[in-house]
């Protein structure tokens, strides 16, 4: 049979604990990686079908960047059980940090490398996230959601109020300067689609790998212990302070990285109220819930669902059925909303759980009993 653990002998501990223990899964993973890393960039470079810009700027970039953010929030909500509605604000921190770092003429160095900028933006966001995570030691659940909501509003207000953050520009807009990675321009309007795509893809892969390995190690287990029962976790020796704050830190780091990419690579220009408002926090939370709490795969699928579904529906309704744009836009809300409810009724644990069930069925197929 083709989808079985049997016959695939693991001779080392590393092999025994790998992410994809079944050979077919592993093959599928490598195929997807190969397609995403080699085939897609080549297609974008050759501009197959003439839609390279559309595909990159309207589909791939938002999907990849939201997937990074979604992994970040999933660590906090899904793995550590701390409900946060401040993600939009944290993305804004990442974006504004990247803007300030890119426009800062560093003594002795000059211009910072873009990858360094993205990582530093993540670090700064992690710091802010830890700060706003402090109340989580005292408040839980919905009350924590309200406390983090304060972070969302405060941060947006701050970036609107203090002109230093947007370099005193007349309109309060921040616009990205052109930057290159390894000689390929990745920000600005003239950047090649494949360069932007590859940068975001590589960052997503790194983030997913790091997150995966964090969550199945000691740190991830302490997060899950806190999530499942914080008092019991404390009794067995998990320090709530360190654990919760590390979850806030790691989660905010990823969200900050996503925020920096969202502004610098995807949008190019942003204003905080519009690009990082409260609706972004909700969108991200929906991605995590629909994808599946406590699942890296779920984060990616959730992001795909929330980002790609509206675009797909729009293209079908307006492009093919020739509906009026406003009716299509309203129906988009209805259909996406209905699908969310449907998915949550059919599978409250998200798309990741559906996938898991499917795999379990496949293992037994064709003899389910």
């Amino acid at each position: 049979m083709f989808y079985r653990e049997s016959g695939d002998f693991k001779t080392t501990y590393a092999k025994d604990t790998q992410t994809f223990p079944i050979k077919l899964d592993r093959m599928g993973y490598y195929v997807i990686l190969a397609v995403a890393l080699i085939l897609v960039p080549i297609m974008l470079m050759k501009d197959v079908g003439g839609g390279a810009n559309y595909w990159t700027n309207a589909i791939f970039l938002p999907f990849l960047i939201w997937a990074v953010a979604s992994i970040g929030l999933n660590i906090l909500v899904g793995y550590c059980g701390q409900l946060s509605l401040g993600s939009g604000g944290f993305m804004a921190v990442g974006a504004y940090a990247s803007y300030k770092l890119m426009t800062w003429d560093v003594p002795f160095i000059g211009e910072l490398n873009f990858v360094v900028v993205v990582i530093l933006s993540g670090v700064i966001t992690a710091g802010v996230g830890i700060l706003f995570g402090l109340p989580s030691l005292r408040i839980k659940g919905f009350y924590l959601a309200v406390a983090t909501l304060a972070a969302q509003f405060f941060l947006v207000w701050l970036f609107n109020k203090v002109p230093w953050f947007y370099n005193y520009s007349a309109s309060g807009q921040i616009s990205v300067p052109t930057r290159s990675v390894l000689g390929f321009q990745v920000t600005g309007a003239t950047a090649a689609p494949e360069a932007k795509y590859l940068l975001c893809l590589v960052i997503l892969i790194v983030v997913a790998l790091v997150a995966r390995n964090l969550t199945r190690g000691r740190i991830g287990r302490s997060w899950m212990a806190i999530r499942d029962m914080d008092i019991a976790a404390e009794i067995i020796g998990v320090a709530p302070l360190k654990t919760k704050l590390s979850a806030f830190g790691v989660s905010s780091f990823f969200i900050g990285v996503a925020g920096a990419l969202f502004f610098a690579v995807y949008l190019g220009a942003a204003e905080v109220g519009e690009a990082f408002g409260i609706q972004k926090s909700f969108l991200l939370l929906f991605m995590v819930i629909i994808g599946g709490l406590g699942s890296i795969f779920g984060s990616i699928v959730g992001a795909a669902f929330m980002v790609l579904m509206p675009v797909l529906l729009k293209n079908i309704m307006v492009g093919h059925l020739n509906w009026a744009t406003d009716i299509a836009a309203h129906f988009e809300f209805v259909i996406v909303g209905a699908l969310i409810i449907l998915f949550l009724i059919l599978e409250p644990h998200g798309l990741a759980q559906l996938w898991r069930l499917l795999k379990d069925k496949l293992r037994l197929w064709p003899f389910p009993h």
Binding site: G28, Y29, I32, G49, G50, G51, N53, Y54, W55, N57, A58, I59, P62, F63, N160, A170, S171, G172, Q173, S175, P177, T178, G188, A189, T190, Y266, L267, G268, A269, A270, E271, G273, E274, A275, G277, F297, I300, V301, A304, F305, L308, M309, V311, L312, K314, N315, I316, V318, G319, H320, A324, T325, D326, A328, A329, H330, L351, W355
Partner: protein, 428 residues
């Protein structure tokens, strides 16, 4: 990952099928949904109806039919990007996003792609300097003209002296609302009035605290930079605190029927700037009635015709059509490209005779565009609302703004942009 791929394949199937037609393509990044829909709908209707009129009455522009590609943005920048990317490959001639945020977003993109943007009365003000912003046009007037025209109006009713007066700017807390601040500050130094700034956050439904402050401080004048749902709320609040409406002036984006009607008779006397005519007392409306309404080809429900924003959408379409005609003349081809469209916009000349022949006598100021000046003359007038007759009445002629102040600001801001982005002079 499999679901992702499935979705991706489906999207591929969907996007691959959109046809490319040999028409003059005008994308309309409209918004008929969301908190700004009340303003987005009439503009989109006017824009679309004028192209329908041109197709039905004249058989297109120079014999080539115009094709409208409508794409819903919901005033959202990400959707705006998606709309731009999905329409730009289909021969789009000019973008009019009707959103300052989306305009900022598209300026570098459209410049790189060589497609002109016409942000009429919105967008980045310093784009008026065509030497730096070769592909961006914002004629016939921009925000800073608007701010200056509002102050000029106050000067006029105060006999030329407003020193010591207090003026409050209540603005949408976004790139759009922040645009006039700099100009108003510089003008405050020049004329000696006190300026107070009151931001209102998106979408603007909650303004109690701002109006409480206005009620407490009783400024002599209130100037508003609002859009969408913020406008009717602000005017209603002003009525509620019994603020004298004739001292309340909105920019041209805060002066449509949708903004004042909800406040009822109390809104009488509210003033708004405008850079084009109001009402439907123009010959072109007979044509619209005959070729568009009676044939059932209106873009929307057809209930917006003659409203301020419908007129503005129609005006935008009219200027685009005239630019196409100019481009066709310059290049001698009927089926023009975006680059030719840009040339046409840059050589556009609107004279009174031209507007009369189009059925829009005295609708807007006469102006001409040049390589250096993409902003037009910056003329504007003031209209006042009369709730009883349900009409806007022009109470001043199109008068000039303080270009000494504004040109200096434009040069400064565009020079900074040119330095940041390494742009060389476009006019030499």
């Amino acid at each position: 990952m499999k679901l992702t791929k499935l979705a991706a394949i489906a999207v591929a199937a969907v996007t691959a099928a959109s046809p490319v037609l040999a028409d003059l393509v005008f994308p309309a990044l409209s918004y008929r949904t969301g908190p700004y829909a009340a303003n987005g709908i009439p503009f989109a209707d006017g824009y679309a109806d004028y192209f329908t009129l041109v197709n039905e009455r004249d058989g297109g522009i120079g014999g080539v039919p115009a094709q409208l590609l409508e794409c819903e943005t919901g005033y959202n920048t990400e959707k705006g990007v998606e709309c731009y990317e999905s329409t730009k490959g289909q021969g789009s001639l000019v973008y009019q996003p009707l959103s300052t945020g989306i305009t900022y977003q598209l300026i570098p993109k459209a410049t790189a792609d060589g497609i002109p943007i016409h942000s009429m009365g919105y967008g980045r003000t310093s784009a008026a300097n065509g030497d730096v912003f070769g592909n961006i046009f914002n004629y016939p007037a921009n925000y800073w003209n608007g701010a200056s025209i509002a102050i000029n109006h106050l000067l006029e009713i105060n006999g030329g002296d407003i020193s010591g007066k207090s003026i409050t700017l209540i603005y949408h807390n976004s790139a759009y609302g922040k645009e006039p601040i700099r100009t108003l500050e510089v003008l405050a130094e020049k004329h000696g009035y006190d300026l107070t700034l009151l931001p209102v956050d998106h979408p603007g439904q909650e303004q109690k605290s701002q109006w409480l402050q206005i009620r407490r401080e009783r400024p002599d004048y209130v100037v508003m930079w609002g859009w969408g749902v913020m406008n009717p709320v602000a005017i209603q609040e002003a009525v509620n605190i019994r603020y004298p409406m004739e001292n309340f002036i909105g920019v041209w984006w805060s002066g449509s029927e949708n903004d004042v009607i909800p406040a009822g008779p109390g809104a009488t006397g509210y003033k708004a700037l405008t850079f084009h005519g109001v009402g439907d007392d123009y010959p072109v409306y007979d044509d619209i009635q005959k070729y568009v309404v009676d044939t059932g080809k209106t873009a929307g429900a057809g209930d917006q015709i003659g409203t301020v924003l419908y007129n503005r959408g129609m005006y935008a379409a009219m200027l685009a059509v005239e630019a196409v005609k100019t481009a066709q003349e310059i290049h001698g081809v009927a089926d023009i490209t975006p680059a030719m469209m840009r040339d046409g916009m840059e050589a556009l000349e609107m004279t009174e005779e031209k507007m009369t022949s189009l059925g829009l006598p005295n609708f807007g100021p006469a102006f001409s565009v040049s390589c250096e000046n993409h902003g037009g003359p910056g003329l504007g007038g003031v209209a006042q609302w009369d709730a009883e007759s349900g009409k806007w009445n022009m109470i001043s002629d199109y008068s000039p703004s303080d270009m000494d102040v504004i040109q200096a600001l434009i040069d400064e801001d565009s020079a900074a942009y040119a330095a940041e982005n390494g742009i060389e002079s476009q006019c030499n």
